[in-house]
Amino acid sequence: MKATNPMNRMNAAVRLSVSSLRAHKRRFAGTFLAVFLGVAFLAGTLVMGDTLRAGFDTMFGNATSGTDAVVRSADSITTPGESEGVREPVDTDLVTVIEQLSGVAAAAPDIQGAGQLVGRNGDPIGGQGPPTLAGNWITDPGLNPYRLAEGRAPEKSGEVVVNKGTAERGDLKIGDTTTLRTPDPVKVTIVGLATFGGEDGMAQVTFTGMTRADAEKYLTARPGEAASIQVRAGPGISQRELVDELTTVLPDGVEAITGQESAEENTDMISSQFLTVFTTFLLVFSGVALLVATFSIHNTFAIVVAQRTRENALLRALGASRRQVTAATLVEATAVAVTASLAGLAGGIGIAAGLQALFPAIGFPFPEGDLVLKTLSMTLPLAVGVVVCLGSALLPALRAGHTAPLAALRETAVDSSGASRARAVTGVGLLALAIGVTLSGVLLTPSLWLAGTGATLALAAFVVLGPVASTTAVRILGGPLDRLRGVTGALARRNALRNPKRTAATASALMIGVAVVSLFTVFGASLKATMDQTVARSFAGDVAVSTPSFGAGGSGLSPHLADAVQRLPEVDTAVGLGRGVAEVDGRGRALTVTDPVALERTFDLGTVNGSLRDLGTDGIAITEKEADKQHLTTGDKARLTFTDGQTQTFTVRAVYGQSELAGDYVITRDAWAPHRTQDADTLLAVSFKDGVSTDVGKAAVEKVADQYGNPEVQTRDEYAQSAAGGIDMMLTLVYALLALAVLIALLGIANTLTLAIHERTRELGLLRAVGQTRSQLRAMIRWESVLVAAFGTVGGLALGGFLGWVLVRASDGASDSAFAFALPPLQLLVVALVGLTAGALAGLRPARRAARLDVLRAIAAE
């Protein structure tokens, strides 16, 4: 006989695996789903990112096509936690200078500030993230990124043009009169509606365009300042040439960039703002799904290979090479990987398309345009899916190849490998290392990097220790079962103990899902507790008036509100906190601009060294933490550089213990006045006179606030809880996504059980013959499923709780504010119950199938 050529040999492998796949379609459903979801979310994220970017590119390109150069101040001050720096304004006198240049066709100042419109129903529009902008309506249509769509441009004071999206959200029409919070309330009449680059607005950014005089009056600290100057080139002059010419006349500290560069900057800024939220969620989920997938895939193939030992041994006995047997399994894995990844890719494009359609429906303008499918965002998810799938199947495939031909003759093919000593030692070593690294990263030298490494090691340790722990854990968890469920319970427990490796691998998938859920739960609860603690510790007032303060959104509070509230007879102290920006010794810092005396009365500042009483125009108060960092004590000098480029020396007159709500640097309003930009308070804290009830006082403050654009007035508790609202929303989204990960894990449990039942057919027949009723048999299998799920859930809770603690502690160490750690018992209990219920559900179908077994045939089965 001639030796077969490699092609034929491979064909044999392919034939074997295809027939096997067909025979075990159901078995691969879980594997398929896991890979599918992982790839789909990865691809969806990438496609959405590309599409958004392309959409914004087009939008900004359209909007700013008439602007060839932008003149602005060169330096910006960026404070920690802010993505965009604050720039010093430019002098509008420059416009005349620029207009005289030969290459310039037109130039216009762009005055910008915060301005939040109040909608028809009295609620402010936007402010929950994207900026709420107001500016001068640039009369040269080429230089104005907004185009009039309806109505006319503002001509006299009080007239405004609003972008269409904002008008729609606030149910406002041309001719309507409403309030613009700058943050001082300004009565405005809408005379026109505008579009931006062909869209109803620049994403969710709201824009109100006023006359130049109004803009200078309400949006700048003093007339003659603009955020930038938009310039159009004369005919035949390129953007680059224009910039070069402009540079010759610009004073120090002022720069010119091309219109294209400016559009790119804007695109980058807005798409990163937009994308980070979604991409982070989707990528985290995609990672979790793929991680769960590796366990699911490995397990499925391990069991399939174990079950097929005799078949593989027979093939080996008949002359199949090791390689052929391994290849058959790998081809099977490839088939699953490729189909699932391709389906995932399609699913990902579907997700992106769905989001594109969904966003506008919920008032979230998504730039129009076709989906952008780049090669990288197509190939990367595909490659990840295939690599994950093949990688997970590699070990089982190699094991299949190592099947000894003699195994065909052995009685049973049940894989009963236990936990080895080496595994226990390695696992415990890993765990010790993980704990050591984590603790040192959290407690000794606070470092997110060390803590992260420790967390990863902990995950690895849990996976390695799984089989070792599963024996003990199932024994303990199943302990009550014997007593509660008698022999049915005992049988369930021992079945779960039969194959620790398999039990552990099955439970690992659920463990990871539960761990991530509990990690987020713990972290969310800790954030809430932190807010509560912050308010409880440092807010001594009765009510707080605040505007949504996420990101750059909202225009803040009118600085006059504090004075108005102070005049109420019910009020003892009303203190407004304004926000300023300055560089302290070269690093951008946020300043709290306020009345320091009132501040001390309404906020608990901890121990104060020195006095806040007479900061004057050259005094500053600093928190202990910042003072330590900068090596400052009372009496020392600190140099502050403001956005207007001026540097002034301040004397440290007080060092206080607690920052939290009050901020790290406090200066008086008088000290801030010369350098001020658009004035706004971020928080107004009010304490009432003795004997004034909160309800009465709150009603009085609300009445005043109503005249200042109707910001929200909250009691102490409401104020603490309002911060938690965002956290709950985030958690809901996370839970929805992770429910899918748990679903994948459940399919894994059901898979394993089905296979185990197949192996135990004779035993089940025997049990039925000697009198086990169908319902007892079903209960036995369901309880086994619950036990495996319980092991996964408990492991996940422990791991998630630990990681949550690490994350909270590490954040505490790495950031300026103190983090509180909280374990929410109720939520974690719910997570545990969901895990157990899920286990019971996973066991339903295998149990039903097992109960249908024909007793006689089962006894006679091989």
């Binding site: 022999v487 049990l767 319902s775 006689l856």
Partner: protein
């Protein structure tokens, strides 16, 4: 149709009347039992013999409530089995019938003691503790009570199965080739146990076997061929049974 009707004054532990069992339908159908009526009296050790395909296992399965008859009736004591649903049949097997199979008699995850008590535990009752204690001595496994089946020899495993079969003091114990997988010495022990159980404690045993030596331990042997009861033999010996069996091999 030759139907041998046996009349006795002794009450029956199990019996089948005009038992017919057909597997499959149409041309592919096989008539495993072609109208068998037989009584298994209380306190007797009955062996069912016959060549392969004679229907002896089918007869036992139907009589024990593991399988259902196509027509005719099967009774355990006074209970007619065809009227019972799966649940009642299961409970009847659990409470009133004992089983010893040829192989794979024990649940591998349970200890010897737990295997013996299995039907009682499934029922949730305590059972007769003295009786079980005595059984353990009879089968000689007191020092193995906490072992797992995998730690026992084949003979020991079958002895545990015998103890399990009698643990609930059932009306009747059915044994399906209980010595088929054992060497002759272990087989002897198991058969001795079954015989002693019948004679010393007035239990009823019905055993299917193709081994004349095993059949010789019974009080009576019934012979099946082609799904029919063809003969009965009181006080069998191995030689007499062997002679009778040889007759089947003569083509008729």
């Amino acid at each position: 149709m030759t139907t041998t009707t046996v009349t006795t004054t002794v009450p029956t532990a199990a019996r089948v009347v005009d038992a017919v069992k057909v597997y499959g339908t149409g041309d592919a159908s096989v008539r495993a039992l072609a109208g068998v009526s037989v009584d298994f009296p209380v306190g007797r050790f009955t062996a069912i013999m016959g060549p392969s395909g004679s229907g002896k296992s089918t007869l036992m399965h139907c009589a024990a409530g593991l399988d259902t008859l196509t027509s005719g009736t099967a009774h355990i004591g006074d209970t007619e089995l065809s009227s019972l649903d799966d649940r009642r049949l299961t409970l009847l097997r659990r409470d009133r019938v004992g089983f010893v199979f040829q192989a794979f008699n024990l649940v591998p995850t349970l200890t010897v003691a737990e295997n013996i008590r299995l039907p009682l535990d499934l029922a949730g009752g305590k059972g007769d503790l003295e009786w079980i204690d005595a059984l353990i001595d009879v089968v000689g496994l007191r020092d193995r009570l906490h072992h797992r089946p995998s730690e026992l020899s084949g003979g020991q495993q079958q002895r545990v199965a015998v103890a399990r079969a009698f643990a609930g003091q059932p009306d009747v114990v059915f044994a399906d080739e209980p010595t088929g997988n054992l060497d002759s010495r272990s087989g002897e022990e198991v058969l001795g146990l079954l015989g002693r159980a019948v004679r010393q404690t007035a239990r009823t045993v019905v055993m299917v076997t193709h081994d004349p030596v095993a059949a010789a331990h019974a009080d009576e042997v019934v012979f099946l061929a082609d799904g029919r009861l063809v003969d009965r033999m009181e006080s069998p010996t191995a030689d007499k049974v062997l002679d009778r069996m040889k007759a089947f091999e003569v083509p008729s």
